[in-house]
């Protein structure tokens, strides 16, 4: 063959087979003609061949045109745009005709869509965390990874924490070439602010100068280069500026800060408040050097208490950085780590490093849940929220499918007529999909409205600050649109497939019964009810656990107790405040008792680790005074309370049962507790044993704990507990006025102990609310679906009921007849949901609690009973209505 094979193969590829032979023949003929052409006798044969080939290729290329390669491919287009107007009209009429069913469908879909959109917002918000920093990819948080000798967990023997040594940040900046900048960040330190007559407790964050250049928090006033040249400078947010200075210019003003000693600070900068999507939060920034015991901590490499961020140079090598971090550990801590290894009570494998530094890039901090941080979030939440949204969406879709299937009887004639007039099956499919899309679109509009309506409460539930800005709203709408298209097509596909299948001859003959065998609807209803039942059981279990927690006897009396910080730091001054207040309060009838402690429950704790007879022990410790046990109503099992009259009581301890058990004491009152590892003495004498009480949250078990009055080792009474009698608000007013009278220069901050304790479970409570809300909606949607279904069922059986009534059936029989199948379906659904929800709730929810409400059969029975009752109530309306119809009405047309 002389001709160009490549171009012919190309022709074969694009040319429709029917045309191929004729075209190829013509091309070959021209090729031969070119080859033989005698016009130019001077041309050599070789040239002629090449020319012919070239012309052939060119001709083939010219055939590559729409008229050829699209021929017979899309010729008979079935999307007939002419019919769209008609579809629109019919759809609108159908929606109007069945207002109630359309409402059920639109309602369910819009709630499902709204939930989905809210979840989208949530996930988006999680992803956007800390993304606004210009240097976000160069900023790393340094983390400690150390062998945990306290916990003895075989599977995960390491402790990971973002709190590291105070001295590390300056050391890294000085010694490592990769580090361009470094700052420490300690927030949440409560100090007293005084400016003129304004005295408040404020939460300050201790940072370094580099903070302002590393992070992209905009400085409104002051320059990043000049801030924090001096130790006594403060940078505040506009809100704080207005609080203290009003309309005055805050720059250059001095403000007195009381943090274990009063000092005057100069305001040198105004910084914008951090956005909601920031892992770092602050209101007031002061230099790190002002922290208590700063100098001591700088040289103590064994004290881990300072979160540290570094900014690496743009081209820094991370492996080199890691190696250099190890070198820093070797240089500064090798001796100490060796000592720790020797002293460890659990054997530490030689290949395990005692301490390593790890680092996480800034945008990933938010979702790194293994390292605790104030705003850290578990990615699991997004999955659970998404799951809930999906469940609701599924329930709504099922509503749509089963309702369209059962109402399809009425549309059979329409389908028949359309087919007879010439509609093809595809056209009918388009028509019904178009209808479901129309419904889904209107649901989208409602759903978007619901999002706007629910966003504030959603923010509250999920502890977020999502705002719907215009670009976000547009994005949301486009996501919603995609979702709508998918669900509209998905939910619409089966009904439209089902509807378009009717045989016109059968339908139009008119000899069909009015009942429709849509067997597919029953499993759908079961599935729908199982999903609702799952949500019911889960939320009932959550509710029970919450009630259990809030009503459980904690072993002490948390009612009517005011928790008041003494505002005097860790000094003897604090003890004096408690004493003064107590003396003053004795004259008041509303104040039952006053006690002091180092910290109230849920407001932090101290835990000491030490060795007793070569064994590693640890215990929680609270500073107390003689009134502590009586104020809290703690039960003393053995021994006696602290006695102010006995001088030796300043170094005795009262322990709890868990500690006795931990120490394996048989006669605790004759024991000494050597918690300070005294080498001379025997330690503190045990004078009493209290019954275990829940000083920790109920997520944790009873741990060893002791009370002591030893000021130098345990600390001062920084918190005052005031028990008031009678009306709490009256008591509170009284306490406040006494405070103002005694300490006019100190802010009066207070909380109620029962609220503090309840706040520990705030996140669980939030989840309970979310679950409850979702359950409510799920039940509502599925009940509406069931209601619609029952109605159609009753209508389908009107004639049957009429005949039965004529034959003598009473109302009760008919009622049972109509409801029987729904009861069976509901029971089936519960049988499916019970094990699933049990598995879910124990696996995910209950595992966090050491103290759990027992899972009993009555929980399932109760949920099932409630669900059944609800289902019954839903379907009864139609059953009663159907049973009450006069049979003459229904049978007269026969």
């Amino acid at each position: 063959m002389k001709e160009n094979r490549l171009s012919l193969r190309f022709l074969r590829w694009f040319c429709p087979p029917a045309l191929y032979e004729g075209i190829e023949g013509d091309l070959l003929e021209q090729f031969e003609c070119d080859l033989k052409s005698s016009d130019h006798s001077e041309w050599s044969d070789d040239y002629k061949l090449r020319r012919a080939k070239r012309r052939l290729a060119w001709n083939v290329l010219k055939f590559f045109r729409l008229g050829i390669f699209l021929r017979n491919r899309f010729s008979n287009q079935l999307i007939n745009t002419m019919m769209w107007g008609n579809y629109m009209k019919v759809a609108a009429r159908n929606i109007q005709k069945r207002k109630f069913y359309s409402f059920i469908n639109a309602f369910g879909l819009s709630i499902g869509l709204a939930f989905c959109m809210l979840i989208t917002l949530y996930i988006q918000d999680e992803k956007e965390f800390d993304q606004f920093h210009a240097n976000k990819n160069q900023i790393y948080r340094i983390e400690e990874k150390s062998f945990d000798t306290w916990r003895h967990d075989e599977a995960d023997p390491y402790r990971k924490s973002a709190w590291i040594q105070t001295g590390l940040a300056p050391t890294l900046k000085e010694e490592l070439p990769e580090v361009a900048a470094a700052t420490r960040f300690n927030e949440g330190n409560r100090v007293i602010f005084r400016y003129g007559d304004k005295v408040f407790t404020e939460s300050v964050a201790y940072v370094d100068k580099d903070f302002f250049t590393m992070f992209s928090f905009p400085l409104l006033q002051g320059s990043a280069e000049r801030i924090f040249m001096d130790k006594l400078e403060v940078v505040i947010t506009p809100a704080i500026a207005t609080k203290y200075f009003g309309d005055e210019d805050p720059i250059g003003k001095t403000i007195e800060i009381d943090n274990n000693g009063k000092q005057s600070f100069t305001v040198t900068g105004i910084i914008e408040a951090p956005p909601a999507q920031s892992s770092l939060t602050y209101a007031i920034l002061i230099p790190q050097e002002n922290r208590n015991y700063y100098d001591r901590n700088m040289i103590n490499w064994g004290n881990f208490g300072t979160p540290t961020f570094v900014q690496l140079r743009a081209n820094a090598d991370l492996t080199a950085f890691k190696t250099n971090l190890d070198k820093v550990i070797d240089k500064h801590m090798s001796a100490m780590l060796e000592r720790w290894r020797k002293e460890a009570t659990v054997p530490i494998p030689p290949d395990v490093k005692m301490l390593e530094y790890e680092f996480t890039v800034l945008p990933q901090i938010h979702l790194k849940k293994e390292v605790s941080w104030e705003k850290v979030s578990d990615p699991q939440y997004a999955f659970i929220l998404g799951g809930i949204a999906l469940l609701i969406m599924l329930i709504a879709c099922i509503n749509y499918i089963s309702l369209s299937l059962t109402t399809s009887a009425a549309r059979r004639v329409e389908v028949g007529v359309r087919k007879v007039v010439g509609a093809q099956r595809n056209q009918l499919l388009y028509q019904f999909s178009f209808e479901s899309l129309l419904l889904a679109m209107s649901s989208l509009v409602i759903g978007f409205g619901l999002v706007l309506l629910f966003l504030p409460s959603f923010n509250e539930f999920t502890n977020k600050g999502i705002e719907l800005t215009l670009p976000k709203a547009l994005q949301l709408i486009s996501i919603g649109l995609a979702l709508t298209l998918i669900t509209g097509l998905l939910a619409g596909s089966y009904p439209s497939w089902f509807l378009s299948r009717f045989k016109p001859a059968l339908v139009l003959k008119g000899g069909f019964t009015s009942r429709l065998q849509a067997g597919f609807t029953k499993p759908l209803v079961v599935l729908q009810f199982a999903l609702s039942a799952f949500l019911i059981i889960c939320s009932v279990m959550m509710f029970r656990q919450m009630r259990f927690i809030t009503t459980k006897d904690l072993g002490y009396n948390k009612e009517q107790i005011l928790v008041i910080p003494t505002q005097s730091g860790w000094t003897e001054e604090s003890d004096r405040v408690v004493e003064q207040f107590r003396t003053r309060a004795q004259q008041e009838s509303q104040i039952v008792s006053v006690s002091g402690t180092s910290s109230s429950f849920s407001q932090g704790y101290s835990r000491y680790g030490f060795k007793v007879k070569g064994e590693q022990k640890s215990a929680y410790v609270y500073a107390a005074d003689p009134n502590y046990i009586s104020t809290l109503g703690i039960q003393l099992l053995e021994g006696r309370n602290f006695d102010p009259a006995i001088a030796a009581d300043s170094d005795v301890v009262i322990v709890n049962e868990a500690l006795v058990k931990d120490m394996k004491w048989t006669d605790p009152l004759n024991e000494y507790y050597n918690w300070r590892e005294d080498s001379v003495g025997m330690g503190s004498r045990v004078i009493g044993v209290v019954k275990d009480y829940h000083f920790l949250s109920l997520e944790q078990n009873f741990e060893p704990m002791f009370l002591s009055m030893n000021k130098s080792s345990v600390g001062y009474l920084t918190t005052m507990l005031v028990k008031v009698g009678g009306d709490v608000s009256v008591g509170l007013e009284r306490v406040k006025s006494i405070w103002k009278e005694l300490y006019p220069d100190k802010p009066f901050d207070y909380t109620f102990m029962d609220q503090d304790v309840a706040n520990q479970y705030a996140s669980y409570k939030r989840w309970m609310s979310i679950m409850g809300l979702a359950t409510g909606f799920a039940i509502l949607i599925s009940c509406l679906g069931l209601f619609g279904l029952a109605g159609i069922n009753a209508v389908n059986r009107t004639k049957e009921i009429g005949i039965r009534k004529v034959m003598g059936a009473d109302m009760q029989t008919i009622f049972i007849l109509l409801n029987k199948q729904f009861i069976v379906l509901a029971v089936l659904a519960f049988a499916m949901a019970a094990p699933l929800s049990w598995w879910f709730i124990t696996k995910w929810y209950m595992k966090d609690f050491t103290f759990q409400v027992p899972l009993s059969w009555d929980l399932f029975a109760l949920s099932m009973g409630a669900g059944l009752l609800l289902a019954l109530a839903t379907v009864s309306y139609h059953a009663i209505k159907a049973a009450l119809i006069n049979p003459a009405e229904t049978l007269k047309y026969e």
Binding site: L19, G25, D26, N59, K62, I68
Partner: protein
């Protein structure tokens, strides 16, 4: 019929097909146009036009017998249908009617 009309090139190709009768296939039409009107037309354009005419029902096609030429490929022979003929006739008549309306100008040599 009122909607259907032919473009200039379509008319040309249809006419050629009518002239060539049993020998009306792509290449023959190309060379016939070259020969009679002196116009170089593209083979692919002729093919596409023929298919379009077929869609409109003015020609119909069948495969001819195989020969030794053309690498053994058969020819697709196009025949003008009655509708095509009627169309050509209509167009011619319509044009003639129009032509008659033009005043017959005479060249005047001054």
């Amino acid at each position: 019929m009122s909607k259907e009309f032919l473009g200039e090139f379509e008319e040309l190709v249809l006419t050629m097909a009518g002239i060539l009768q049993e020998e009306a296939y792509g290449n023959a039409i190309v060379s016939e146009i070259k020969q009679r009107v002196g116009r170089d037309v593209n083979l692919s354009a002729v093919h596409v036009t023929l298919y379009r005419l077929e869609d409109k029902g003015f020609v119909k096609s069948k495969m001819g017998g195989a020969t030794n030429q053309r690498g053994g490929r058969r020819k697709r022979i196009f025949t003008v249908t009655n509708a095509g003929l009627a169309m050509l006739r209509n167009m011619k008549e319509a044009r003639m009617d129009l032509w008659k309306l033009i005043p017959q100008l005479k060249m005047v040599i001054v």
